[in-house]
Symmetry: C2
Subunit: 359 residues, 2 copies
C-alpha cells in the first residue's frame, strides 16, 4: 500500500473540460417525484467508433462534479489501449440531468428567459437515467455493452440495470453504493447548508455574478475532506507550511493543506452552480436500490480499502444483492491509500479488472 | 463492540453549563508568539476538598467547545465515586484562554470598552497552560496529582508535563495527539472558512447580535461529522426520516441526520463565539510536541478504535515518545463504536483505566 506521491501531481479532478460537447434535444420530462421540464438538452461526447452491429457502446456516468468529458477525468481508464479501450469500444460521456455542464439543470434558462434556479423540479437518479436512455435512443443505440460509473455515476449505472433491463449487458460500478448511509447524507447536508446559509444564496434566486461563492467553496472543501484518506493527506501535505518557514500566527493560511482546500474550493465556484450542488446531492441522498430484481446484467464492483466515504462493505452488500438474484457478479477490493479519489486515480489495478470484465 | 443506543440519548455534548463559575484575575500575559493581554480573567469551578497537604488536586482541561463545568460534560468520569472521584480528589475545571465561557477570549471586553474580536493576540496551547499555572498559583497549589484532558484538553495536559515538569505527577490524555495531522488541520480549516467566508464575519469585527451564525453553524456541523463514526451515524440515524413517512423532495431537511446536524449547528451559535472557534482551532493546529524531554510525569493514554479523527496510532506515538524518555506510560485502546465522542461518552472502560491510574 505504498503511496506514489507523483500520482497526486496530475489529474486529481483537475482534468480540463472539453470544448467538444455535442448537444441533443431529448424532449419534455415528467420527473419521477413530480414536476415537469418542458424540454431537456443533453450535452455529450463520444470516443471511438460505433460498430455496424451497434454492440460496442459503453456509457460512462460521472460523479457529482464531473461532466461529459469522461476521457479527461477518467483518463487513467479511458482511451486508446486503456482498460476502456476507445480503439475497441464506442464510449459515450454525458453530463447529468441537474448538472451545470451543458445538460439541463437549475442554471439553465427556463421558458421565461430566466434561469430555473429553485424552480427546477426535484430530480432523482432515475430521472438522470431516463435522460440518458433518451440520449441512447437519439444515437440509435438500443443495447449497451456496458455502463460504467463511480460514486454518483455508480448509482446511475446501478439504476440503469434495473430500470432498463435487457438494454445493458455489463455494469462496472466503483466506489459506490445502493443507498447512502447516514454519514454520507451528513457530509452532503453540511455542504448543502454551507450554500443554503450563505446570505448570497437568496432563497436560491441569486443573480449571475452574485452567486453564493463563499458557501459553495466551503461545501466543496467539505467534499474534498471526504475524498481523501488520512494517509493521502499525510503524504500530500503533512504539516508542511505553504511558501513559508514559520507560521504567520494569524487567521490566514499557514499549512499546505489549508492552501489546497481553499484552492479547490475557490476553483470549484468558477465552474459549478450552487443549486446544482443542492439538487444533485439531494438526488443521491434519496437514492435507495432495494434489490436487483429484474436485472439481466453482469456486475463488476470495485472498492478501495482507504475509501471511508464509500467503504468496501457497501460494495460487498451490492455483490450479495446481485448474487441473491442469481446474477453474475464480482467485487474486487483494491488496496490503495488514496481514499475515495482512488476510483479516479487508479487506472492500473482497477483497470485490470475492468479490462477483463468488458473483454 | 455492540452499540448501546441509550448511551446516545443523554450527554453527547448537551450537558448544561454551570452558574457556579468563580473568576480569578491572573494578571497580564505576554503571549508565546508575540502579542500581549493587559489582564487575563480565568473562569473556574472546583469539586471535592483540597487535602491539607494539597496533594490531591486534579486539573481537568476541556476540548474545543467545552467549559469549566467538567462535572457536566465529563459526568461519566467525574463525580462522587466515579473514576475521578470527587470524594477523594480536589477537581478543578477552568475555561481555556481564548474561549468564550468566562475566561479572557476574543469576545472579552478590551481596555477601550469594546470586544477584542480580531485584536485578540494569536494564542498557543502553551499560553493556555501558562494561564492555568497562574490559576494554580492563585489557588495556592504547587503540585498537581494529575492533569486530565481529551482532544484539545489532551494537548494541554501534554504541554503541562513538559512546560512545568515537577509540578505534575500524572497525566491522563485521551483521544489526543502530539501534533495535528494534515487531515485534522483540514477539518479545522474547513470549519474556519465557514466562518471567515460568512459575509457577517466582517473581518472579525461583527457587532453583538450580528454574529456570523450561518458560518459558525456550518463550522460546527463539520465538527460533528468528524466526532462520530460511521457505525454511530448508522445506529443513531440510519436513513430514517425526520417526522415524516416520505421525503418532501425539496431542499429542506428530510433525514434525521440532517435534522441532528442542523440542530447541533444552530444550538452552538447560541453559546459560542465565532472568533473563539478561529483562535482555538488555530492554536491546536499549530501545536507540535517534539518530545517529552524534561517531563517527570507518568502517562495514561487512551484512544478509541472508531475515532478516525484522533486515530489510535497517534496515541501509540505518544506512548513511544514517553518510553523514549524512560517515563512510565501506558496506552489503552478502547474498542467502542462511538467515534471521537467516545472519550466523552465512555465512563466504564476508560473509567477503569483512569481509576487505576490515579489510585
Amino acid at each position: 500500500m505504498a503511496i506514489d506521491p507523483a500520482l497526486f501531481l496530475e489529474n486529481e479532478r483537475t482534468a480540463p473540460s472539453s470544448d467538444q460537447r455535442i448537444y441533443a434535444e431529448v424532449g419534455p420530462l415528467d420527473c419521477q417525484v413530480g414536476g415537469h421540464l418542458p424540454r431537456v438538452t443533453v450535452a455529450y461526447e463520444t470516443w471511438g467508433t460505433l460498430s455496424s452491429a451497434k454492440d460496442n457502446a459503453i456509457l460512462v456516468c460521472h460523479a457529482l462534479s464531473g461532466d461529459s468529458h469522461a476521457i479527461g477525468w477518467w483518463e487513467r481508464l479511458i482511451g486508446p489501449g486503456k482498460a476502456i479501450d476507445t480503439n475497441q469500444f464506442f464510449v459515450i460521456g454525458s453530463n447529468s440531468l441537474g448538472g451545470c455542464q451543458g445538460t439541463t439543470g437549475p442554471a439553465s434558462i427556463a421558458d421565461d428567459g430566466k434561469p430555473y434556479r429553485v424552480r427546477f423540479p426535484s430530480i432523482t437518479v432515475g430521472d438522470m437515467v431516463e435522460v440518458q436512455t433518451r440520449l441512447l435512443d437519439h444515437l440509435g443505440i438500443d443495447t449497451l455493452l456496458g455502463v460504467a460509473g463511480g460514486s454518483m455515476g455508480g448509482m446511475q449505472a446501478l439504476e440503469w440495470t434495473v430500470r432498463k433491463p435487457g438494454r445493458i449487458k455489463k455494469a462496472f460500478v466503483t466506489a459506490s453504493c445502493a443507498a447512502h448511509s447516514a454519514m454520507q447524507i451528513g457530509f452532503n447536508e453540511a455542504a448543502r447548508q454551507a450554500v443554503l446559509r450563505d446570505p448570497r444564496w437568496l432563497g436560491g434566486n441569486y443573480e449571475e455574478g452574485q452567486e453564493p461563492t463563499g458557501g459553495l467553496a466551503v461545501g466543496r472543501m467539505i467534499g474534498h475532506l471526504s475524498f481523501l484518506s488520512e494517509q493521502a493527506f499525510e503524504v500530500k501535505f503533512g504539516r508542511r507550511l505553504q511558501d513559508k518557514d514559520l507560521p504567520n500566527y494569524d487567521l490566514g493560511v499557514d499549512f499546505q493543506v489549508e492552501s489546497y482546500l481553499n484552492y479547490q474550493g475557490d476553483k470549484f465556484t468558477a465552474r459549478f452552480d450552487a443549486n446544482s450542488l443542492l439538487y444533485l446531492t439531494k438526488a443521491i441522498d434519496y437514492y435507495e436500490l432495494p434489490s436487483f430484481a429484474g436485472s439481466k446484467s453482469d456486475y463488476l464492483f470495485t472498492s478501495f480499502t482507504t475509501d471511508w466515504l464509500y467503504p468496501s462493505h457497501q460494495s460487498e452488500a451490492l455483490l450479495k444483492m446481485a448474487k441473491a438474484e442469481g446474477l453474475k457478479a464480482e467485487h474486487q477490493i483494491v488496496d490503495l491509500p488514496y481514499g475515495h479519489d482512488a476510483f479516479l486515480l487508479d487506472g492500473e489495478i482497477q483497470g485490470k479488472y475492468v479490462r477483463a470484465f468488458f473483454a
